[in-house]
Protein backbone atom coordinates (compact mmCIF):
# COMPACT_ATOMS: atom_id res chain seq x y z
CA UNK A 1 0.00 0.00 0.00
CA UNK A 2 2.78 2.41 0.91
CA UNK A 3 5.19 1.23 -1.74
CA UNK A 4 4.53 4.24 -3.96
CA UNK A 5 5.19 6.46 -0.98
CA UNK A 6 8.46 4.73 -0.26
CA UNK A 7 9.49 4.94 -3.89
CA UNK A 8 8.81 8.67 -3.90
CA UNK A 9 10.97 8.87 -0.80
CA UNK A 10 13.98 8.40 -3.03
CA UNK A 11 15.42 11.85 -3.79
CA UNK A 12 16.50 11.22 -7.43
CA UNK A 13 13.12 9.70 -8.31
CA UNK A 14 11.15 12.49 -6.65
CA UNK A 15 13.41 15.00 -8.40
CA UNK A 16 12.58 13.45 -11.76
CA UNK A 17 8.85 13.09 -11.05
CA UNK A 18 8.67 16.73 -9.96
CA UNK A 19 10.62 17.75 -13.05
CA UNK A 20 8.31 15.88 -15.38
CA UNK A 21 5.13 17.16 -13.80
CA UNK A 22 6.32 20.79 -13.78
CA UNK A 23 5.29 21.67 -17.38
CA UNK A 24 1.91 19.96 -16.97
CA UNK A 25 1.11 21.95 -13.86
CA UNK A 26 2.43 25.09 -15.51
CA UNK A 27 0.39 24.96 -18.70
CA UNK A 28 -2.87 23.72 -17.18
CA UNK A 29 -2.54 26.38 -14.48
CA UNK A 30 -2.00 29.17 -17.01
CA UNK A 31 -4.82 27.96 -19.27
CA UNK A 32 -7.27 27.79 -16.40
CA UNK A 33 -6.03 31.12 -15.00
CA UNK A 34 -6.72 32.74 -18.37
CA UNK A 35 -10.13 31.10 -18.58
CA UNK A 36 -11.01 32.03 -15.00
CA UNK A 37 -9.83 35.62 -15.42
CA UNK A 38 -11.80 36.12 -18.63
CA UNK A 39 -14.83 34.52 -17.00
CA UNK A 40 -14.47 36.44 -13.77
CA UNK A 41 -13.38 39.86 -15.00
CA UNK A 42 -15.30 40.11 -18.30
CA UNK A 43 -18.09 37.55 -18.64
CA UNK A 44 -19.48 37.56 -15.11
CA UNK A 45 -22.05 40.33 -14.53
CA UNK A 46 -21.26 43.03 -11.95
CA UNK A 47 -22.78 42.50 -8.53
CA UNK A 48 -25.98 44.45 -7.89
CA UNK A 49 -24.60 45.84 -4.63
CA UNK A 50 -20.84 45.81 -4.93
CA UNK A 51 -20.55 46.57 -8.64
CA UNK A 52 -17.22 45.47 -10.05
CA UNK A 53 -15.63 45.45 -6.63
CA UNK A 54 -16.74 41.90 -5.96
CA UNK A 55 -14.41 40.62 -8.69
CA UNK A 56 -11.55 40.52 -6.21
CA UNK A 57 -13.02 37.25 -4.90
CA UNK A 58 -11.54 35.53 -7.95
CA UNK A 59 -8.13 36.09 -6.36
CA UNK A 60 -9.13 36.36 -2.72
CA UNK A 61 -11.12 33.16 -2.23
CA UNK A 62 -8.68 30.79 -4.01
CA UNK A 63 -5.78 32.28 -2.00
CA UNK A 64 -7.71 31.89 1.25
CA UNK A 65 -8.51 28.24 0.49
CA UNK A 66 -4.90 27.54 -0.39
CA UNK A 67 -3.54 29.39 2.64
CA UNK A 68 -5.33 26.84 4.84
CA UNK A 69 -4.84 23.82 2.58
CA UNK A 70 -1.09 24.36 2.35
CA UNK A 71 -0.77 24.38 6.14
CA UNK A 72 -2.70 21.11 6.32
CA UNK A 73 -0.42 19.72 3.61
CA UNK A 74 2.63 20.75 5.67
CA UNK A 75 1.25 19.09 8.80
CA UNK A 76 0.38 15.88 6.92
CA UNK A 77 3.78 15.82 5.21
CA UNK A 78 5.44 16.48 8.56
CA UNK A 79 3.51 13.60 10.17
CA UNK A 80 4.50 11.27 7.30
CA UNK A 81 8.10 12.38 7.72
CA UNK A 82 8.03 11.75 11.47
CA UNK A 83 6.22 8.41 11.36
CA UNK A 84 7.84 6.75 8.33
CA UNK A 85 11.06 8.73 8.58
CA UNK A 86 10.78 9.91 4.98
CA UNK A 87 13.18 12.78 4.52
CA UNK A 88 11.53 13.84 1.30
CA UNK A 89 8.20 14.41 3.07
CA UNK A 90 9.98 17.07 5.13
CA UNK A 91 11.40 18.54 1.92
CA UNK A 92 7.83 18.91 0.59
CA UNK A 93 6.72 20.69 3.77
CA UNK A 94 9.74 23.00 3.75
CA UNK A 95 9.25 23.83 0.07
CA UNK A 96 5.53 24.53 0.58
CA UNK A 97 5.82 26.83 3.61
CA UNK A 98 6.83 30.13 1.91
CA UNK A 99 4.16 29.55 -0.75
CA UNK A 100 1.51 29.11 1.92
CA UNK A 101 2.72 32.24 3.68
CA UNK A 102 2.51 34.12 0.36
CA UNK A 103 -1.08 32.94 -0.20
CA UNK A 104 -1.98 34.04 3.32
CA UNK A 105 -0.42 37.43 2.66
CA UNK A 106 -2.30 37.78 -0.65
CA UNK A 107 -5.53 36.86 1.12
CA UNK A 108 -4.98 39.57 3.74
CA UNK A 109 -3.96 42.21 1.17
CA UNK A 110 -6.82 41.54 -1.26
CA UNK A 111 -9.22 41.35 1.66
CA UNK A 112 -8.20 44.74 2.99
CA UNK A 113 -8.23 46.30 -0.50
CA UNK A 114 -11.79 45.03 -0.86
CA UNK A 115 -12.64 46.15 2.65
CA UNK A 116 -11.71 49.80 2.08
CA UNK A 117 -14.51 50.63 -0.40
CA UNK A 118 -16.99 48.06 0.97
CA UNK A 119 -16.65 48.45 4.72
CA UNK A 120 -14.89 51.83 4.73
CA UNK A 121 -11.82 50.48 6.49
CA UNK A 122 -8.75 48.48 5.54
CA UNK A 123 -8.82 46.41 8.67
CA UNK A 124 -11.59 45.18 10.90
CA UNK A 125 -11.22 42.65 13.68
CA UNK A 126 -13.53 40.25 11.94
CA UNK A 127 -13.28 36.54 12.70
CA UNK A 128 -11.84 35.51 9.35
CA UNK A 129 -9.36 38.37 9.16
CA UNK A 130 -8.09 37.70 12.63
CA UNK A 131 -7.65 33.96 12.11
CA UNK A 132 -5.92 34.61 8.80
CA UNK A 133 -3.52 37.00 10.53
CA UNK A 134 -2.75 34.40 13.20
CA UNK A 135 -2.21 31.87 10.40
CA UNK A 136 0.37 34.19 8.85
CA UNK A 137 2.23 34.29 12.18
CA UNK A 138 2.09 30.50 12.38
CA UNK A 139 3.70 30.31 8.92
CA UNK A 140 6.41 32.71 10.09
CA UNK A 141 6.93 30.58 13.19
CA UNK A 142 7.31 27.42 11.13
CA UNK A 143 9.80 29.04 8.75
CA UNK A 144 11.73 30.43 11.71
CA UNK A 145 11.94 27.01 13.37
CA UNK A 146 13.21 25.11 10.34
CA UNK A 147 15.85 27.76 9.70
CA UNK A 148 16.98 28.00 13.32
CA UNK A 149 18.45 24.51 13.48
CA UNK A 150 21.98 24.13 12.12
CA UNK A 151 21.23 20.46 11.54
CA UNK A 152 18.81 19.85 8.66
CA UNK A 153 17.27 16.68 10.10
CA UNK A 154 16.54 18.23 13.50
CA UNK A 155 15.10 21.33 11.87
CA UNK A 156 12.80 19.21 9.71
CA UNK A 157 11.49 17.19 12.62
CA UNK A 158 11.12 20.17 14.95
CA UNK A 159 9.23 22.00 12.20
CA UNK A 160 6.99 18.96 11.72
CA UNK A 161 6.03 18.91 15.41
CA UNK A 162 5.27 22.62 15.32
CA UNK A 163 3.21 22.25 12.13
CA UNK A 164 1.16 19.38 13.58
CA UNK A 165 0.42 21.18 16.85
CA UNK A 166 -0.38 24.37 14.96
CA UNK A 167 -2.69 22.49 12.57
CA UNK A 168 -4.59 21.10 15.56
CA UNK A 169 -4.71 24.62 16.97
CA UNK A 170 -6.02 26.36 13.83
CA UNK A 171 -9.66 25.19 14.18
CA UNK A 172 -9.55 26.13 17.87
CA UNK A 173 -8.17 29.57 17.00
CA UNK A 174 -10.86 30.02 14.38
CA UNK A 175 -13.64 28.95 16.74
CA UNK A 176 -12.32 31.13 19.57
CA UNK A 177 -12.07 34.19 17.31
CA UNK A 178 -15.61 33.56 16.08
CA UNK A 179 -16.83 33.35 19.65
CA UNK A 180 -14.94 36.51 20.54
CA UNK A 181 -16.38 38.57 17.66
CA UNK A 182 -19.91 37.30 18.20
CA UNK A 183 -19.47 38.53 21.76
CA UNK A 184 -18.62 42.07 20.70
CA UNK A 185 -20.28 42.78 17.37
CA UNK A 186 -23.93 42.50 16.56
CA UNK A 187 -23.60 42.15 12.82
CA UNK A 188 -21.00 39.82 11.43
CA UNK A 189 -18.84 41.24 8.67
CA UNK A 190 -19.08 38.23 6.41
CA UNK A 191 -20.61 37.51 3.05
CA UNK A 192 -24.34 37.08 3.09
CA UNK A 193 -25.35 33.50 2.69
CA UNK A 194 -27.37 34.23 -0.44
CA UNK A 195 -26.33 31.73 -3.06
CA UNK A 196 -23.98 33.02 -5.71
CA UNK A 197 -25.29 33.05 -9.29
CA UNK A 198 -23.89 30.44 -11.70
CA UNK A 199 -22.44 33.12 -14.00
CA UNK A 200 -20.30 34.31 -11.08
CA UNK A 201 -19.69 30.88 -9.60
CA UNK A 202 -18.05 29.00 -12.47
CA UNK A 203 -15.12 31.41 -12.88
CA UNK A 204 -14.56 31.13 -9.12
CA UNK A 205 -14.39 27.33 -9.28
CA UNK A 206 -12.08 27.55 -12.28
CA UNK A 207 -9.86 29.98 -10.39
CA UNK A 208 -9.71 27.69 -7.35
CA UNK A 209 -8.51 24.81 -9.51
CA UNK A 210 -6.13 27.14 -11.38
CA UNK A 211 -4.62 28.45 -8.13
CA UNK A 212 -4.17 24.89 -6.87
CA UNK A 213 -2.35 23.92 -10.07
CA UNK A 214 -0.32 27.12 -9.89
CA UNK A 215 0.68 26.13 -6.34
CA UNK A 216 1.60 22.63 -7.55
CA UNK A 217 3.73 24.17 -10.29
CA UNK A 218 5.63 26.43 -7.91
CA UNK A 219 5.88 23.62 -5.37
CA UNK A 220 7.48 21.24 -7.86
CA UNK A 221 10.04 23.89 -8.84
CA UNK A 222 10.82 24.67 -5.21
CA UNK A 223 10.88 20.99 -4.32
CA UNK A 224 13.51 20.32 -6.99
CA UNK A 225 15.67 23.13 -5.66
CA UNK A 226 15.17 21.88 -2.11
CA UNK A 227 16.15 18.32 -3.10
CA UNK A 228 19.27 19.56 -4.87
CA UNK A 229 20.21 21.68 -1.86
CA UNK A 230 19.78 18.75 0.53
CA UNK A 231 21.46 16.18 -1.67
CA UNK A 232 24.27 18.44 -2.83
CA UNK A 233 26.84 15.93 -1.64
CA UNK A 234 25.12 12.89 -3.18
CA UNK A 235 26.72 11.29 -6.21
CA UNK A 236 23.64 11.57 -8.41
CA UNK A 237 23.55 15.33 -7.96
CA UNK A 238 27.23 15.53 -8.91
CA UNK A 239 26.68 13.58 -12.12
CA UNK A 240 23.69 15.78 -12.76
CA UNK A 241 25.73 18.94 -12.54
CA UNK A 242 28.49 17.48 -14.68
CA UNK A 243 26.30 16.09 -17.47
CA UNK A 244 24.15 19.19 -17.44
CA UNK A 245 20.65 19.73 -16.21
CA UNK A 246 19.04 19.42 -19.62
CA UNK A 247 20.13 15.87 -20.28
CA UNK A 248 19.30 14.78 -16.78
CA UNK A 249 15.77 16.07 -17.08
CA UNK A 250 15.13 13.57 -19.85
CA UNK A 251 16.97 10.72 -18.17
Amino acid sequence: MFTWLHKLGSPPLLYRVAGRSTPWFKWTAFLLLALGLVGGLILAPPDYQQGDGFRIIYVHVPSAILSLAVFVLMAVAGAIGLIWRLRMAHAVAVAAAPLGAAFTFITLITGSLWGKPMWGTYWAWGPRLTSELVLLFLYFGYIAVINAFPNQRSGDRAGAIFAIIAAVDIPIIHYSVYWWTSLHQGASLSFTNSSISPAMLWPLLVMIVAFTLYFCWLLSIRLRTEILRRERRASWVRTLTITGAKNAKLA
Partner: protein, 220 residues
Protein backbone atom coordinates in the same frame (compact mmCIF):
# COMPACT_ATOMS: atom_id res chain seq x y z
CA UNK B 1 8.98 8.80 39.71
CA UNK B 2 6.52 11.60 38.95
CA UNK B 3 6.37 12.66 42.60
CA UNK B 4 10.15 12.49 43.00
CA UNK B 5 10.74 14.64 39.93
CA UNK B 6 8.14 17.12 41.11
CA UNK B 7 9.78 17.29 44.55
CA UNK B 8 13.14 17.89 42.91
CA UNK B 9 11.75 20.75 40.81
CA UNK B 10 10.18 22.40 43.82
CA UNK B 11 13.30 21.94 45.92
CA UNK B 12 15.52 23.52 43.25
CA UNK B 13 13.11 26.43 42.91
CA UNK B 14 12.98 26.86 46.69
CA UNK B 15 16.75 27.05 46.94
CA UNK B 16 17.02 29.56 44.11
CA UNK B 17 14.37 32.12 45.02
CA UNK B 18 16.14 34.81 43.00
CA UNK B 19 15.51 32.85 39.83
CA UNK B 20 12.08 31.35 40.37
CA UNK B 21 10.59 34.53 41.79
CA UNK B 22 11.35 36.66 38.75
CA UNK B 23 8.21 35.94 36.67
CA UNK B 24 5.76 36.94 39.38
CA UNK B 25 7.73 40.11 40.16
CA UNK B 26 7.78 40.93 36.45
CA UNK B 27 4.02 40.37 36.41
CA UNK B 28 3.38 42.74 39.31
CA UNK B 29 5.70 45.46 38.02
CA UNK B 30 4.31 45.36 34.48
CA UNK B 31 0.69 45.49 35.60
CA UNK B 32 1.63 48.49 37.70
CA UNK B 33 2.79 50.29 34.54
CA UNK B 34 -0.70 50.30 33.01
CA UNK B 35 -2.38 52.70 35.44
CA UNK B 36 0.73 54.90 35.19
CA UNK B 37 0.65 54.88 31.39
CA UNK B 38 -3.10 54.99 30.80
CA UNK B 39 -5.07 56.68 33.50
CA UNK B 40 -5.92 56.24 37.14
CA UNK B 41 -9.68 56.50 36.68
CA UNK B 42 -11.59 53.42 37.88
CA UNK B 43 -14.05 53.74 34.97
CA UNK B 44 -11.24 53.12 32.50
CA UNK B 45 -9.22 50.57 34.42
CA UNK B 46 -12.02 48.29 35.58
CA UNK B 47 -13.14 47.10 32.10
CA UNK B 48 -9.54 46.83 30.92
CA UNK B 49 -8.26 44.91 33.94
CA UNK B 50 -8.93 41.35 32.70
CA UNK B 51 -7.23 42.06 29.36
CA UNK B 52 -4.23 43.72 31.01
CA UNK B 53 -3.81 40.94 33.56
CA UNK B 54 -4.12 38.13 31.01
CA UNK B 55 -1.72 39.68 28.52
CA UNK B 56 0.86 40.37 31.23
CA UNK B 57 0.39 36.85 32.64
CA UNK B 58 1.21 35.59 29.13
CA UNK B 59 4.38 37.66 28.99
CA UNK B 60 5.39 36.52 32.48
CA UNK B 61 4.97 32.95 31.28
CA UNK B 62 7.34 33.66 28.37
CA UNK B 63 9.91 35.02 30.77
CA UNK B 64 10.37 31.92 32.87
CA UNK B 65 10.14 29.28 30.17
CA UNK B 66 13.80 29.30 29.18
CA UNK B 67 14.63 27.88 32.59
CA UNK B 68 12.44 24.80 32.09
CA UNK B 69 15.07 22.51 30.62
CA UNK B 70 18.12 24.75 30.29
CA UNK B 71 19.84 23.98 33.61
CA UNK B 72 19.17 20.25 33.28
CA UNK B 73 20.50 20.33 29.75
CA UNK B 74 23.67 22.14 30.74
CA UNK B 75 24.61 19.94 33.71
CA UNK B 76 23.72 16.66 31.97
CA UNK B 77 20.67 15.76 34.09
CA UNK B 78 18.50 15.85 31.00
CA UNK B 79 20.63 13.21 29.36
CA UNK B 80 20.09 10.93 32.35
CA UNK B 81 16.37 11.58 32.22
CA UNK B 82 16.31 10.72 28.51
CA UNK B 83 17.95 7.40 29.34
CA UNK B 84 15.47 6.35 32.05
CA UNK B 85 13.22 3.43 31.08
CA UNK B 86 10.16 5.39 32.27
CA UNK B 87 8.15 7.20 29.59
CA UNK B 88 9.66 10.58 28.81
CA UNK B 89 6.13 12.02 28.63
CA UNK B 90 5.84 11.51 32.37
CA UNK B 91 9.13 13.29 32.96
CA UNK B 92 7.96 16.22 30.85
CA UNK B 93 4.63 16.33 32.67
CA UNK B 94 6.42 16.38 36.03
CA UNK B 95 8.69 19.21 34.96
CA UNK B 96 5.77 21.18 33.54
CA UNK B 97 3.76 20.71 36.73
CA UNK B 98 6.70 21.85 38.83
CA UNK B 99 7.21 24.84 36.58
CA UNK B 100 3.56 25.82 36.84
CA UNK B 101 3.57 25.54 40.64
CA UNK B 102 6.63 27.77 40.80
CA UNK B 103 5.80 30.38 38.15
CA UNK B 104 2.12 29.98 37.22
CA UNK B 105 0.47 29.70 40.61
CA UNK B 106 2.18 32.81 42.07
CA UNK B 107 0.97 34.79 39.05
CA UNK B 108 -2.61 33.60 39.70
CA UNK B 109 -2.32 34.70 43.31
CA UNK B 110 -0.63 37.96 42.30
CA UNK B 111 -3.43 38.58 39.81
CA UNK B 112 -5.92 38.50 42.67
CA UNK B 113 -3.89 41.18 44.39
CA UNK B 114 -3.46 43.55 41.45
CA UNK B 115 -7.04 43.04 40.22
CA UNK B 116 -8.19 44.78 43.35
CA UNK B 117 -5.76 47.61 42.64
CA UNK B 118 -7.35 47.91 39.17
CA UNK B 119 -10.77 48.35 40.85
CA UNK B 120 -12.16 44.92 39.92
CA UNK B 121 -14.97 44.03 42.37
CA UNK B 122 -14.25 41.10 44.66
CA UNK B 123 -16.68 38.72 42.90
CA UNK B 124 -14.92 39.54 39.63
CA UNK B 125 -11.56 38.77 41.19
CA UNK B 126 -12.64 35.23 42.08
CA UNK B 127 -13.95 34.62 38.56
CA UNK B 128 -10.75 35.95 37.04
CA UNK B 129 -8.57 33.80 39.28
CA UNK B 130 -10.59 30.72 38.36
CA UNK B 131 -10.04 31.51 34.68
CA UNK B 132 -6.32 31.97 35.25
CA UNK B 133 -6.22 28.71 37.18
CA UNK B 134 -7.52 26.91 34.08
CA UNK B 135 -5.64 28.99 31.52
CA UNK B 136 -2.10 29.31 32.87
CA UNK B 137 -1.44 25.53 32.88
CA UNK B 138 -2.25 25.46 29.13
CA UNK B 139 0.24 28.25 28.65
CA UNK B 140 2.85 26.38 30.71
CA UNK B 141 2.32 23.25 28.59
CA UNK B 142 2.71 25.23 25.36
CA UNK B 143 5.83 26.81 26.84
CA UNK B 144 7.12 23.33 27.69
CA UNK B 145 6.75 22.22 24.08
CA UNK B 146 8.43 25.31 22.68
CA UNK B 147 11.18 25.25 25.32
CA UNK B 148 11.89 21.64 24.32
CA UNK B 149 11.94 22.58 20.63
CA UNK B 150 14.28 25.54 21.07
CA UNK B 151 16.44 24.04 23.81
CA UNK B 152 19.70 23.89 21.90
CA UNK B 153 19.23 27.00 19.79
CA UNK B 154 21.17 30.20 20.32
CA UNK B 155 18.25 32.41 19.32
CA UNK B 156 15.81 30.56 21.62
CA UNK B 157 14.94 33.63 23.67
CA UNK B 158 13.72 35.50 20.58
CA UNK B 159 12.21 32.56 18.76
CA UNK B 160 10.16 31.03 21.58
CA UNK B 161 7.63 33.87 22.07
CA UNK B 162 7.11 34.08 18.31
CA UNK B 163 6.15 30.40 18.33
CA UNK B 164 3.98 30.38 21.45
CA UNK B 165 1.96 33.56 21.16
CA UNK B 166 -0.01 32.68 17.99
CA UNK B 167 -0.65 29.19 19.36
CA UNK B 168 -1.92 30.66 22.59
CA UNK B 169 -4.44 33.05 21.01
CA UNK B 170 -7.49 30.92 21.97
CA UNK B 171 -6.36 30.76 25.61
CA UNK B 172 -6.11 34.54 25.72
CA UNK B 173 -9.49 35.04 24.09
CA UNK B 174 -11.42 32.63 26.28
CA UNK B 175 -9.39 33.54 29.35
CA UNK B 176 -9.68 37.31 29.21
CA UNK B 177 -13.33 37.15 28.23
CA UNK B 178 -14.24 34.54 30.81
CA UNK B 179 -13.65 37.34 33.30
CA UNK B 180 -14.85 40.39 31.37
CA UNK B 181 -18.10 38.82 30.12
CA UNK B 182 -19.13 37.46 33.52
CA UNK B 183 -21.39 39.65 35.58
CA UNK B 184 -21.60 39.39 39.41
CA UNK B 185 -24.78 37.31 39.19
CA UNK B 186 -23.93 35.19 36.19
CA UNK B 187 -20.72 33.44 35.20
CA UNK B 188 -19.98 32.97 31.52
CA UNK B 189 -19.92 29.17 31.56
CA UNK B 190 -19.20 28.96 27.82
CA UNK B 191 -15.76 30.45 28.24
CA UNK B 192 -14.96 28.29 31.24
CA UNK B 193 -16.05 25.14 29.42
CA UNK B 194 -13.86 26.10 26.49
CA UNK B 195 -10.89 26.74 28.79
CA UNK B 196 -11.41 23.38 30.49
CA UNK B 197 -11.69 21.58 27.15
CA UNK B 198 -8.47 23.21 25.93
CA UNK B 199 -6.72 22.24 29.17
CA UNK B 200 -7.72 18.58 28.71
CA UNK B 201 -6.56 18.69 25.09
CA UNK B 202 -3.29 20.35 26.08
CA UNK B 203 -2.56 17.87 28.89
CA UNK B 204 -3.13 14.90 26.59
CA UNK B 205 -1.43 16.21 23.47
CA UNK B 206 1.43 18.50 24.44
CA UNK B 207 3.55 16.38 26.84
CA UNK B 208 4.14 13.58 24.25
CA UNK B 209 4.92 16.22 21.61
CA UNK B 210 7.32 17.94 24.01
CA UNK B 211 8.97 14.60 24.80
CA UNK B 212 9.55 13.99 21.10
CA UNK B 213 10.84 17.55 20.75
CA UNK B 214 13.32 16.92 23.59
CA UNK B 215 14.70 13.87 21.81
CA UNK B 216 15.03 15.85 18.57
CA UNK B 217 16.78 18.71 20.35
CA UNK B 218 19.08 16.29 22.07
CA UNK B 219 20.09 14.69 18.77
CA UNK B 220 20.76 18.10 17.27
Amino acid sequence: MFIELLRRELLIAWRRPGESGVPVIFFLVTVMLFPLGLSRSPELLRPMAPGIIWVVAFLAGMLGMQGLFRADYEDGTLEQLLLTPRPLTLVVLAKASGHWLVTGLPVVVGAGLVAGMLYVPSSGIVVMMLGLLLGTPILTLLATLVAALTLTLRQAAVLAPVLILPLAVPVLIFGAHSASSSTPGEINTQAFSALGAMLILAVSLLPPAAALALRISHEN
